[in-house]
């Protein structure tokens, strides 16, 4: 049986991969000088699209529900942040690194929220 460490590493791989790829895609697509609202919306959609694709593979390894939450959240947030930054110019490397950082933040947020919500609910 796979243990908690396997799933923690799996979740980390999931969020950092989604973040890194979304960051890279935003850096390639969004150009310097674009309207930042348009860029944010496009970045979010890009992130969601990549999340859907990664979901299909990573869900088989690490659990479809947990992976869906992590990839979608990372994809959306990374897409918005990196795309907005890209309107003022961002290097490819910085975009990927920012995506990985957002992915790490998402896993911390989700694990913390899970520790607060898990357990018996008073009726």
């Amino acid at each position: 049986m796979k243990n908690q460490l396997y799933y923690f590493v799996g979740d980390l791989v999931t969020t950092t991969t989604t973040g890194g790829l979304t960051g890279a895609a935003c850096a390639l697509v969004v150009q310097n000088g674009w309207n930042s609202l348009v860029a944010m919306a496009l970045g979010m959609l890009l992130g969601m699209f990549l999340a859907l694709i990664l979901n299909a593979f990573l869900g088989i390894l690490f659990g479809a529900l947990e992976v869906m939450i992590l990839t979608m959240l990372t994809g959306m947030v990374t897409g918005m942040i990196v795309a907005m930054q890209a309107t003022g110019g961002i290097s490819f490397y910085s975009a990927v690194r920012l995506g990985v950082e957002v992915g790490s933040g998402v896993i911390a947020f989700t694990y913390l929220t899970n520790s607060l919500l898990r357990g018996e609910v008073r009726q």
């Binding site: 049986m1 869900g59 947990e66 939450i69 018996e120 609910v121 009726q123």
Partner: protein
Amino acid sequence: MNLSTRKKWDTAAQGYDLLTRGTDQRWAQHKAHFFSPMQGKVLFLAAGTGLDFKFFPSQQDITAIDISPKMVKLARQRAIEDYDGIIDIHEMDVHQMLFPDETFDQIYTACTLCSIPNPVEGLIHLRRVLKPHGELHMFEHTASHYPPFNLILNMMSPLMSRFGPEMNRDTVTNVRRAGFAIHRVENLHLDILKVICATRGKI
């Protein structure tokens, strides 16, 4: 019988084991614990491909139903290979169950209230076939009450429900609306994956 639901799950049956492989393994301990109180005359809704049978306590006599003939075919094979008790599997719609009133001591569901077309109506039928002091045990993923998780589930639901389950059903409320008395709700992952235990409530 709801033919579009049957068709959808017949289509899903082929790739079901692969797509749910991660979930099956990740939730294995929770599921083994969840099914451990099984005893008496038990109804299991819905069999799927029978992935849950390995978690059932041994030597039970269980009745299972599923709307999809393809799921039922795979489940029957698993019941022979993976289980040392009896699992009698029927191709049946939960909305049109042929069992007499008050037949079962316990009803178990796993990731199914997200999948049946009318959850409250389905639960009312489950309540009908449950004995007066019978128990309902559910292992279900549900809507979340917290952002950003509720936002993600609401966005994913229209897409997912084309091929599989709805992602944003308020199953705890649905159980209450069907007349059950809820005794315990336990969150297993965020407030999305839950165990719900209920009894028939006032008759």
